[in-house]
């Protein structure tokens, strides 16, 4: 691994961990990780907040007997006991929109982040383990996709789609946000593949795929998990951006779309804060909690960072 590779992998993520390379006996390691995980305030608090929002997303829509886009009440009402988060300019229930929007947010994060992690791992492992011409070719592809701004591509794709849903949106986001993951995983695979235990597996005749999944991947599992969390967060943010530009789902609702509607229909000069504060706050708190959770995880897996 060159110096620059090392730098890249740390630079790629807000809190990229160093790889724990020693093949440890997994039982003891996981018990130890659990021990530190329970005592890590950042991890516990972050996880708690995410779970809380997950519950709101799951239960919230069941509380209302109307859909998020139905016109149910008088327009532009402040929050009240009947409409907890007030109503929009058109008399839609902001609380119903918010909870449905949360569902879209989690869906986009899970699907988009998951797909990006999958592609990034596939390319990163292959390039790092095979090396040579395969590596060169995959590296080229990675670098090209890396330079192209994700949002710009999504912009022209979404423009030409007549019907847009949350699931296709998540898939497109996943298809274009994997490059830094591929690069980071490639660099780590590179450093792992010349270790003794990998050589041993190779000597005993294991296939390339088996070595990657049995020997290399488990040794960076904590890293992979944290990468997924970061991808989850960035997918949510990209989706919010796309929705806000006006290329959100044509049916249904999302938090970005709520902000788009609020701004388009003059909620700002009219001071209808209950319309635009909840969706942005929801995204900020969820993504922020994920990031802080990641710092906690980093401390759990990397003893050097634990606070004494």
């Amino acid at each position: 691994m060159t110096v620059s590779d090392q730098e890249e992998l740390v630079a790629a993520a807000p809190a990229a961990p160093a790889v724990t390379a020693a093949p440890v006996t997994s039982m003891r390691a996981s018990r130890e990780a659990l021990h530190f995980a329970r005592r890590n305030r950042k991890l516990v608090a972050g996880l708690g907040v995410v779970l809380l929002f997950l519950v709101v997303a799951a239960v919230g829509p069941l509380l209302a007997d109307h859909g998020p886009n139905e016109y149910v009440g008088p327009p532009a009402q402040r929050p009240s006991s009947q409409y907890w988060f007030g109503t929009t300019m058109f008399g839609q229930d902001v609380f119903a929109q918010f909870t449905h929007g949360l569902r879209s947010t989690f869906l986009v994060g899970l699907l988009g982040g998951g797909l990006a992690a999958l592609i990034g791992m596939l390319i990163g492992f292959t390039a790092g383990y095979r090396g040579g011409a395969v590596d060169e070719a995959l590296n080229m592809v990675t670098n090209v996709v890396l330079v192209i701004p994700t949002l710009a591509v999504l912009l022209i794709i979404a423009t030409y789609l007549r019907v847009r849903g949350v699931v296709p949106e998540a898939i497109f986001i996943g298809l274009f946000s994997w490059p830094w993951v591929a690069r980071a995983i490639r660099a780590q695979t590179f450093s792992l593949r010349s270790r003794d235990f990998v050589d041993l597996a190779r000597l005993s005749g294991a296939s390339g795929r088996k070595i990657i999944f049995r020997e290399i991947a488990p040794n960076m599992s904590s890293y992979l998990f944290m990468t997924f969390i970061l991808l989850f967060g960035s997918s949510v943010l990209i989706a919010a951006t796309l929705d806000f530009i006006g290329l959100g789902p044509t049916e249904g609702i999302s938090l970005g779309l709520m902000m788009n509607n609020a701004v388009l229909w003059s909620a700002l000069p009219l001071g209808m804060w209950w319309w635009f504060v909840p969706p942005g706050l929801g995204i900020t708190v969820i993504v922020g909690a994920l990031y802080i959770m990641n710092v906690g995880l980093d401390e759990v897996f990397n003893p050097k960072l634990r606070e004494m």
Partner: protein, 329 residues
């Protein structure tokens, strides 16, 4: 060094080629007739609609073989011809975009550079200082998790609608005509401040955290421990750590460019700031496909140029790239 730049330039050339190809492919292979779809929603007068239909069918060149269409697209592109805007008919797309670019750059460049600089300084200062670290870290993470447009919305609401200190929309006062006068420049500045501030703050949080985390890694590195064991003053060790931590932050800047540009686009929309983002919104609402495709190419070119500038900066900061050793490839 030549190899380093050669490689980078090759990547940028391929990227540009791919981007243009995507820009050409998507309208042609999406279901439906893009010309008809675009015009039917544009609510134009019948005679201009007809003229446009003929113009666009000709421009799309749908009657010639597909490879010919592709070549024609490139020829037009190299002549700077991106078609004619529907929203601002009959202005060419290039003209419309060029009017918006200065506004976007005026927001993007200072916000990016200042937030990177200030964030790095601040993050380095906060690292391993208990009290600061415990306050800065959560604030930084919240800032970097904030969607750009939401921070913009909040600032616009609090400082423009509620407090009335700053104007809420536009690039300059609607009562003024663009001119080189102090009143106009003052108006420009007042309208510029809030979108700039929201871009700056989100970026600042991210860079501060990045630097803080990097410094902590560097302070745990062998060379830091070695220096410390020699009895070097803490300041000196931190200075070396900072210089080493700056390199990945520079790489990070290149990686973040796309996100920052996207952030600028939505911030402009919040403030109806007359840059590229606002144009894109208008183009989407008016089904002005040519304008969107043009904006896409402009963004790509801008990001490629910025990447190249970061590469040059990297060579200046990292001596290894200059002496021919591998670095930053």
């Amino acid at each position: 060094m030549r190899r380093y730049f050669g490689r980078k330039l090759l990547i940028y050339a391929v990227t540009f080629f791919v981007a243009v190809t995507v820009d050409w492919t998507i309208p042609r292979f999406m279901p439906g007739d893009p010309v008809q779809g675009m015009l039917s929603r544009a609510s134009l007068r019948p005679e201009s609609s007809q003229a446009l239909y003929a113009y666009y069918t000709d421009l799309f060149g749908l009657d010639v073989p597909i490879w010919q269409q592709y070549l024609n697209f490139w020829t037009a592109l190299l002549r700077g011809d991106l078609g004619i805007s529907i929203w601002r008919f009959p202005q060419p797309v290039t003209t419309v975009l060029m009017q918006a670019v200065p506004y976007t750059l005026a927001l993007l460049v200072p916000a990016t550079l200042l937030s990177w600089w200030a964030g790095n300084k601040f993050g380095a200062y906060a690292a391993r200082r208990k009290w600061l670290d415990n306050t800065v870290l959560p604030v930084g993470y919240v800032l970097t998790a904030t969607p750009y447009m939401w921070l913009g919305i909040l600032l616009a609401w609090l400082l423009a609608t509620v407090a009335g200190i700053f104007p809420i929309a536009g690039g300059y006062s609607f009562a003024l005509e663009p001119a080189w006068s102090w009143t106009f420049l003052g108006s420009l500045l007042r309208h510029w401040f809030l979108p700039f501030a929201s871009l700056f703050l989100v970026g600042f949080g991210g860079w501060a955290i990045g630097m803080r985390n990097m410094i902590i890694y560097e302070l745990e590195a062998d060379y830091s421990h070695y220096l410390e064991s020699l009895g070097a003053p803490r300041r000196l060790v931190r200075r070396y750590a900072f210089r080493n931590a700056l390199l990945p932050q520079l790489t990070g800047l290149a990686l973040q460019l796309g996100v920052i540009v996207a952030g600028a686009l939505v911030t402009e929309i919040v403030f109806s700031y007359p840059g590229l983002g606002y144009l894109v919104l208008q183009a989407i609402n008016n089904q002005d496909f040519f304008l969107i495709q043009g904006a896409f190419l402009f963004i790509i070119i801008g990001v490629l140029l910025a990447n190249f500038l970061v590469d040059i900066a990297y060579v200046m900061v990292d001596p290894r790239t200059r002496t021919g050793m591998r670095g930053g490839a």
